[in-house]
Subunit: 159 residues, 2 copies
DNA sequence: AGATGTATGTTATAACATAACAAGGCGACG
DNA sequence: CGTCGCCTTGTTATGTTATAACATACATCT
């Protein structure tokens, strides 16, 4: 697994793109899912940069290419990619970014540059602060939110 | 500082409310800010439960009480409370919750029950997993997002 | 009174997201 | 071969969240 957060620093971006597309194709084959033209194209667009992209900006691109102009087109493709782990939703931005660690176990943490909008992906179990320090990212604000079931709402089994 | 996440378990809720309101009043006096009727009322409403509340649900309450009916009324009050640390925004839910640790140093982490909607607030520097285990919360999904400046976007001083 | 700062009221619209229903494509199975 | 079921797409309509922009009010200081 790629451990260093890519995105902020120079790197072989074609490599990123190829790796991500190949990983997605492989995973789809294995899972018997279809990486349809629209889905594939959305992933490619997200992969063009490590910045997060809003669903409507994406939709504008799709529209320009004749792939669809209605919001559900974008949201469906994004939903698929996120479900399958090929992309991630960045809650703070209501936006989406291609997964930078294709195939990795996924408990991602993100560093979002509020100036250039680039997003670097790290692993959540590494302390965010440590990873940030290593990559030179200056954290100003962190969003850490776990969702799940509180004690009262858990099914009785194994309370 | 309150270290255990409140919210999921039985506790002296009147105490919560009083402490939070008093802390807010004190902080406003110190900072020479006004805890106006609308602001105060919004905080009180958020404090009624430890669940997160959307801006429009809140607005409906304000409207019913004659305190205003237009979105900016709610967003302004919420913005003020969040800026001052009296409430927090829960990105995943596009919703707001009263601060459970008034006066504490703030690097909060949240546990959100997807069933009852209650939100418990912990400290981010304690490992979330540990805190969750202690309180019996079953984590299903975590959002960890840091925002700041990447190496390229930092002012030259102290790169 | 006039200047300034903070808060509020209001209109309008931007930005993000999904429900619901219709229709097409395609393989499995009888 | 047909038709059934499943997945995917197309489209309409609407719901939900959030902010820009401008006008007004009100207190304080000079």
């Amino acid at each position: 697994m790629e451990r260093n957060p890519t995105g902020f620093t120079a790197h072989d971006h074609n490599g990123c793109v190829d790796a991500a597309l190949q990983a997605a194709e492989k995973a789809c084959t294995e899972r018997k899912l279809q990486l349809t033209p629209t889905r594939r194209r959305v992933l490619e667009i997200l992969l063009e940069s490590h910045a997060a992209m809003g669903a409507y900006d994406l939709l504008a691109r799709l529209d320009a290419e004749g792939l669809g102009s209605k919001p559900p087109v974008a949201y469906r493709a994004l939903g698929f990619l996120v479900e399958q782990g090929f992309a991630h939703r960045i809650e703070r931005l209501n936006a989406f970014v291609a997964c930078a660690h294709p195939g990795a176990t996924h408990d991602p943490a993100f560093m979002i540059c509020r100036s250039c909008g680039k997003v670097a992906e790290a692993d959540a179990d590494a302390t965010m602060n440590e990873t940030a320090a290593q990559s030179g990212f200056r954290i100003e604000q962190t969003v850490i939110e776990a969702e799940g079931l509180c004690p009262r709402c858990q099914p009785e089994t194994r309370k």
